[in-house]
Structures are given as structure tokens and as C-alpha cells.
Symmetry: C2
Subunit: 151 residues, 2 copies
Amino acid sequence: MSQPPDVIPEQALQRVGWALRRADLTLQSAKEPALRAVGLSTASYSLLMHVHVYPGLNGAELGRRLGVSTQAVALLVTKLEAGGLVERRAHPRHRNIQELYLTDEGHRTLQAAYRHVGTIEDKITDALGPEEAQHLRDLLDTVMAALADTE
Amino acid sequence: MSQPPDVIPEQALQRVGWALRRADLTLQSAKEPALRAVGLSTASYSLLMHVHVYPGLNGAELGRRLGVSTQAVALLVTKLEAGGLVERRAHPRHRNIQELYLTDEGHRTLQAAYRHVGTIEDKITDALGPEEAQHLRDLLDTVMAALADTE
DNA sequence: TGACTGGCATCAAGTCCTTGATATGGGTCA
DNA sequence: TGACCCATATCAAGGACTTGATGCCAGTCA
């Protein structure tokens, strides 16, 4: 039996997808110690930021935006609620749904975290310059649009 | 006590780092069902691809490249070895170090996976065009270089 | 009105990965 | 040669997340 020809190109690991993966991994690693300093995990930080920007978000929608399951969100929210950073409120009409809000303490913690993590974002935009930073966002949007067609 | 001014800009979630995160999440989600079809997790696929491109890699170095701990690699390798996809060989001089290689079966599985996942990569490069795809890689390299200065 | 459908939340069990600690072997330097 | 240091690999325990199953509630349709 002869071996089939190798369909994997030499530069497989240099393709866009892997560059994207490496860049995101590097970014997450860079953020991690800054967040640890204020007592947050990267997951908690993402959750707080999303609730800050979209107050009243429910757990299921939050899970979709963060790329994790509803259950994972619920576990995290329970911890953050115990720590006094977020608050669950009943949806005015759908009693079964909970809306999430930041407490004052949660707001302060998020701001402290942003002061640290924001400097990392600044490093990126400084290195790119405003035009290229915008260009990068556009390119990433194009990538996401291309992947959305997959469904 | 007066509330401190909000230092978090409105567009916090539109910054480059979050765009990067969302794009990578979307990509991983898109790859996942394709890999499941050939019985691989995204972690396994990444590992196989790296061992294919860099034959003889050891576990610790692999962990650094994948962004996971050495132990996680060891657990995964044990499973892949039991499945007959990878092979541990003793380093010729350092008896304590193991070099990793793909078996023929591992090579076949990786090729099957690449046939599925490669089409997703193609979607991206088709949507961008060759120049913009290269540009995106360059921009991501710039981002990683900027983050490397952090240390 | 009552049955059906769909989305949200929670409980339970299992998987994957992490941190911490330990053993082993090679390289360096006195 | 021997002591020290560093890197790899493994064992153990804990944490975070996943899938699967269940309950609950609002909206829809006959």
C-alpha cells in the first residue's frame, strides 16, 4: 500500500488561523497577571466588562457572547454575586429570567482592572498606530463574516 | 462619597484585543464540528499538527507553543499514544526527555482532519484575498511583538 | 382554554486542565 | 569528581468547564 500524498502544506502553521490563535493566546497570557493583581480571572473580567457595557444581560446571552456554556456563566455569576460584584434581578415580565447588573463594588473592581489591562491594549494600539489598528479591526471583522457563512 | 469618574471608555469592547478574542473564538467554534467528525478535539488537532511540522518535539516545548502546561500535554499524549496516533521515543542523549513523532495512523488522521479544517482556512483567505491575508498576518505579528516587550 | 413549543436556569456527573510537589538526568563550575 | 542548578517528566489534588437531564415560564396555535 503506497502512502497517499501529503495534503498538508509546509506552511500549515503559518496560515491566518494559527497566527490568530497565537496572537490571542499571547494576549490572554499578557492580561492574566495584571488581572490576578486585582483578584480577577480572565473569565471574570470578560464577564464584568460585558455586563458593564450591556447592563441587564441574561446568563444565556452572556454565555453566547463569551463563548462558554450557560452553566459556566451561572457558576461564575454565583461566585461574583457572593463576592458582591454583580447582582441578579428578576426580569420585569419573564420571572424565569435574571438580568445581571454590576454593583458599585463591581464597578470599582472593573475600573481597577481596566487601569491595568488598558495599558496592554495601549501597547498594541501604540505599536500599530491608529490607521493600522482600525485596519486590523476591519480585517478581523471580515474574518468573522467569512466564518459566519459557515452555518 | 462621590463616585469616581468612569475611566472605562464606551468602546472598550470594540478595542483590538476584544476583536481578536471574538475572532479567535469564532474560528475555534467553526473548526470544532469539523474535527469532531474525525474524532479529534481542537487540542488534539493542534498537538498533532505541531508534531507533524516539528517532529521530535518534547512535551515541555510543545506545552509552551500550545499555551498549556506540560502536564496537560502529557495527559493528552498518553491518550493519543493509546489511540496509536503518536509515539514517544527516548532522546538519543538525554534519556530523561521524550521525543514525539506521528505514527502512520496519526499522519492519516491528521490529513483527514486537515481536509475538513483546511476548507475553513480557505474561506478566510478567499474572503481576504492574498494581499490582505498577508497583511493580517503581519499585523498579528506586530501585536505579538508589542506584547513580547511586556516581559 | 388547553396543549405544544422554545428559551432560560439549575442540578448532576464527567472531562480537561491547572497548580503544587517530587523524581530523575544532563550541564556547569569549583 | 562531586555539588549545584536547571529542565523534563510524572504523580496528586483541586478547579473550571462541559454535556446531559430536568423544571419552569412565556408565547403560539388549534
